[in-house]
């Protein structure tokens, strides 16, 4: 037996919350898109129906069709973030440890950060070829800036007294870096790595769309070339979901390791 119909004002109250409005907006976009896609009202080739896109997405998730491309992209992004972290964190600590160095270097880094990293891609192609390593390099340089800049920002917040105490007891510069600076700036470093991940994904995949033999970005351009628009949309959706999951996972792990990292903002455009 059906229960009593829900009170209208209760439904309205549920909708009139930020979550309700967000859900309603997303639902509205999907419904309008589906309607346009099915009715063919607006550029039928450009707006395939949502069901068509989801069917294509299901193929990616359930079959190994994307596996080699996913592997290539994961290798590039993983390698990029590792290189960026291994170089960005020590350099950030080094630059941030002395005010005079920071005053010289920081404006150079800030100006270099504005340059879109994808434009360095032709140089990497010359040195590393069109295989995965040139994309890995673009991803690494894109991720380097948020990581090093946030490490520097963390270094600014380290209390001088901690360093003075370590020096008094005869700690070496390496010991100070490992035992004083690193624990104190962990939150900022984690935030930098998380934002760097977004930059690495964008940098590497954008480079794949330019010249590549494999990768998710490469497939986007392949589908675009073959005018398989529904497949292209579903692949973009697949990438957005993967990027969001990776971001969420990093946020959770880093938030657990260092609560300070939770305060960090999301990535902007660092590619």
């Amino acid at each position: 037996m059906a229960g009593p119909p829900p009170n209208r004002s209760a439904i309205a109250a549920k909708i009139q919350t930020p979550f309700g409005i967000r859900a309603l907006t997303l639902l509205g976009v999907v419904v309008i898109w589906e309607f346009i896609g099915r009715a063919g009202l607006l550029f039928p080739e450009l707006f395939p129906s949502v069901t068509e896109i989801l069917q294509s997405l299901w193929t990616y998730v359930t079959t190994p069709v994307m596996l080699p491309h996913l592997k290539a992209s994961l290798y590039e992004v993983g390698g990029a973030i590792a290189i960026a972290a291994v170089s960005g964190v020590p350099l950030g600590i080094l630059w941030g440890s002395k005010k005079s160095w920071l005053e010289i270097v920081e404006p150079l880094i800030l100006y270099a950060a504005v340059v879109p990293k994808i434009v360095i891609f032709p140089v990497f192609i010359l040195f590393l070829g069109i295989d995965v390593h040139s994309k890995l390099a673009v991803g690494a340089i894109a991720a380097f800036f948020p990581i090093s800049l946030l490490t520097i920002a963390g270094m600014r917040e380290v209390k001088k007294v901690y360093v003075d105490v370590a020096r008094t007891i005869g700690a070496s510069p390496l010991q100070i870096a490992m035992n004083v600076y690193l624990p104190a700036i962990a939150g900022q470093v984690f935030t930098g790595i998380r934002i760097g991940l977004g930059a690495a994904v964008t940098g590497a995949l954008l480079a794949e769309t330019k010249v590549a033999k494999a990768g998710l970005g490469f497939m986007i351009v392949e589908y675009y070339g073959q005018f398989r628009i529904a497949d292209m949309y579903s692949l973009l959706l697949f990438i957005f979901i993967l990027a969001s999951l990776a971001n969420w996972a990093m946020k959770s792990v880093f938030g657990f390791l260092s609560p300070v990292s939770r305060q960090g903002g999301d990535a902007g455009m660092y590619f």
Partner: protein, 248 residues
């Protein structure tokens, strides 16, 4: 020598030193000219493109695209930001969606824009405007949110009309924060325009670099790269200067 001159001299020294090392490496034959062009050769090619080639035309195309993006982002961004401030619930709800959109790799959707607008500057402008639009919306909304309520109370006590309140109190109060949004937007637009021009091989300076790379003209690649970097740095410098001037 003042402190700022000393620091600038150090920075210049680092850049010149790095360029000299590259120059020596290439001229000494330690690095093949197939990979790396001597900075002097790249500078010469850049100068030739500037004086006899179409570097100025390409730069003007890029600047026009950036200007168009800024106008679109400013008009729609300020209006949307104002709307989201006026409608608090919608503003709070959409803030998260906008932040999510901004942090997602939307730029990868550029083929959709190429299909929609064709391989023209319009595609670059349409996509890059989004990257300018979001920071302007968010800054405008937060600018209106942060107006000191005392200022509004003073206006009300002086019996100002809504129009007078808006013109004499709200606009001067929110202008600096909105300008900061423009500055941020310009930076993102610049990166997006140059990046898309290169990737989609369309438009101005970015296309020059892409063309050179396709032809494997190493010196021209480095000249184009130099042009792109110089434009980015000059742009940021001018934005910073104008912000300082505006804040005075």
């Amino acid at each position: 020598m003042s402190e700022s001159t000393r620091l600038a001299a150090w920075r210049l020294g680092i850049i010149v030193g790095a360029l000299l090392i590259v120059e020596a490496s290439v001229r000494g034959g330690w690095i093949s000219t197939f990979f790396l062009a001597a900075p002097t050769r790249a500078a010469l090619v850049f100068w030739q493109q500037l004086t006899y080639g179409n570097a100025l035309l390409l730069t003007s195309i890029t600047l026009c695209e950036i200007a168009a993006c800024l106008v679109i982002a400013a008009v729609f961004g300020v209006l949307a930001g104002f709307f989201l401030w006026r409608h608090k619930l919608i503003g709070t709800s959409y803030e998260m969606l906008l932040a999510a959109l901004f942090s997602s790799p939307v730029i990868l959707a550029y083929p959709i824009f190429l299909v929609t607008f064709g391989r023209t500057s319009a595609a670059v402008i349409a996509l890059s405007s989004i990257f300018g639009l979001i920071p302007i919306i968010m800054n405008t909304r937060s600018a209106f949110q942060n107006v000191n309520p005392i200022l509004l109370q003073v206006g009300a006590s002086m019996n100002l009309t809504r129009r007078q309140l808006f013109r004499h109190i709200l606009i001067p109060a929110v202008a600096p924060a909105i300008f900061s949004g423009f500055r941020l937007a310009l930076t993102y637009i610049l990166k997006s325009v140059l990046g898309l021009e290169y990737v989609a091989q369309v438009g101005g300076v970015g296309m020059w670099l892409s063309d050179a790379a396709y032809k494997f003209e190493v010196e021209e690649v480095y000249a184009g790269l130099f042009g792109t970097i110089a434009l980015s740095i000059l742009f940021l410098y001018l934005i910073n200067r104008s912000e300082r001037w505006f804040r005075k």
